[in-house]
Symmetry: C2
Subunit: 334 residues, 2 copies
DNA sequence: CATCAAACCGTGACCGCTCGCATGGCGTGG
DNA sequence: CCACGCCATGCGAGCGGTCACGGTTTGATG
């Protein structure tokens, strides 16, 4: 008997022969309503395809019912491409938020001033914010996080910063990548990635720690940008000097892919001449030639964690930054 | 004087010394309000960081202020990975909708029955729906499109179907890819892709048309799935028979990348032994080895078009499906 | 100086929902 | 048999806007 969509609670109430408030309570599972009544009303609602008006409900409850998911694109102003790793977080986030009855309000921002995040949290359009990556905006984020609690960011937990973060242990990941290369007998390692991005800085720190521990010095640092063309160019330029490199740790798979291509174009073979390990294990990492050895982060778990922490914050429950252990996925590039 | 967020129209009205309705009208640009008054109120609103409560506004106006962007994942039930091409559409869509003051409500659905789209459009949570891809759900989409007009789908315009679509000319694209291979002297062509997806079917049609015109017969069809592993396996299996293939048109870049890897693993060189052309020109297409020759679709323009058409529909203006010309991006794989 | 439009602005109802409080019905002890 | 308490339900205000309608100025005009 799927009839025309009963437009409001009053319609349903009239049909059921009870008051509006009874219907409201029945549908929201309020125990004050007798079981029989509730079940009768629920059945009626189902038959008439009735769904509560969220806008009205949220207005009354003084909330928006939406969570902002924002992608800051601070480090890549020339192109609008977003990192495939971050894009892959969005799907699981959408699912997790939907499970909790919240809408996901997506926005991308290219930070032009220090106020971009203030505008979002003060806009009154969301009950909380999930930041996908710190980009090079960690200070702005920190300032806002100090006054706005329902904010969770994917990225690095940096000492002295209070922002609530979820991420993998980037130091461990960087170390893992370097150790893997060292274990293969590689001796001249380079790290490709812009250390202005906190996650990359942490990976670089892990990389250096591994080298230091092995007594291999500092290693080389190439602060490659995230855009593919820029990093390709930078890598080509570096390679032109024929530095004695036999192992590369890339701060992301995207950079690793640029490296793969640059190495190939420079006549170097991977992994025989130089081994490459990436970071993230994005979907295409297994499809490169050779398939990319990389440090995997658990996207699905990370998304779930971010949402959990955010709702802890919304509920006033104390919440602590979460750090997940990354692990090495060995393929052919190293 | 950025003070505490003036919480409502009445607060601002009190501050401005006018009535609530005047503030409402001033802020919505109603010409009934004197210019001076309006500007004064606008300044006040700005100073106090006041932003209109969208939930209340939308409730009163009887709309939701949100557009649903939905990713149907019909053809890839085992994995949740979404096609990078579709993911890349989301960013520009978010921007275009934000420009129009609408929120973007993202959801992914794995169609389990024929009602998934009905639930979305009848849910009353969105004013319109943008479907990212037809997947294998074209009939469900068509049924809903017949009764629900604010619906635009990215995909193929199929003869006899009334749904409003935006997409590139897939037949032309498929033909273009095949012609490119034929022009290089390739004679034994194969098409990799599942023709249950309407866009892929159209690309395949173009592929066959090109072969027919060149008198090269039908070509080979491998209905590869979209998941990378499945398509890789299928391609390896095909290659194991050593068919006389010297050119491959892949229905998407993701499939092309699987093909590249499968060919390499089978000891075949690209492009000398077999040339490969992909479809979409996703970000990583330029990073494969060899870089992928592919058929490019203009994502940004497509996103803008989808939003334009949707708002035409919302306004009651007649709108027609749009078809954009694809073009060949020649790199090294063919 | 009275009159009247035009131009502005204020009043109040209402969008659909939630929840504090009032109310009705019924079982039970005195 | 009545007073009392408790449980299930109804009443109505109000969340923050919008807009139809009516009221008040203002300036031009007879």
């Amino acid at each position: 008997m799927k009839s025309t969509n009963a437009s409001s609670l009053v319609t349903l109430a009239r049909i059921a022969g009870v008051s509006v408030s009874t219907v409201s309570r029945a549908l929201s599972g309020n125990p004050m309503i007798a079981r029989a009544t509730r079940e009768r009303i629920e059945a009626l609602a189902r038959d008439h395809g009735f769904q509560i008006n969220r806008a009205a409900r949220n207005l009354r409850l003084g909330r928006t019912g939406a969570i902002g998911v924002v992608l800051p694109l601070g480090h890549e102003t020339q192109q609008h491409l977003s990192d495939p790793f971050f894009m892959s977080l969005i799907g699981p986030l959408a699912d997790a938020l939907a499970d909790r009855g919240y809408d996901l309000l997506l926005s991308r921002v290219i930070p032009t001033d220090g106020q971009w995040l203030d505008r979002i949290v003060d806009g009154g359009r969301v009950d909380g914010v999930l930041l996908i990556g710190q980009s090079d905006q960690i200070d702005t984020i920190e300032r806002v996080a100090a006054r706005y609690t329902p904010l969770v960011v994917w990225g690095a937990a940096v000492d002295g910063y209070a922002q609530l973060t979820v991420g993998s242990d980037n130091v461990a990941g960087g170390r893992m990548a370097a150790d893997h290369l060292l274990a293969q007998g590689r001796r001249h390692l380079a790290f490709f990635g812009n250390p202005d991005v906190p996650e990359f800085a942490a990976r670089h720190a892990g990389f250096r720690a591994a080298l230091a521990q092995a007594g291999m010095g500092e290693g080389l640092l190439l602060p490659a940008h995230l855009t593919t063309q820029a990093s390709y160019d930078a890598i080509r330029a570096l390679l032109a000097d024929h530095p004695p490199i036999d192992g590369i740790v890339a701060a992301s798979d995207v950079i690793a892919m640029s490296a793969l291509r640059a190495l190939g174009d420079a006549g170097l073979r991977v992994p025989s001449d130089v081994a490459v390990v990436g970071y993230d294990d994005v979907m295409v990492a297994s499809q490169t030639t050779p398939p990319l050895t990389t440090i995997r982060q658990d996207v699905a778990r990370g998304a779930a964690l971010m949402v959990d922490l955010l709702f802890d914050r919304l509920a006033g429950t104390p919440a602590a930054s979460a750090c997940m252990a990354p692990h090495l996925v060995q393929r052919a590039s190293a």
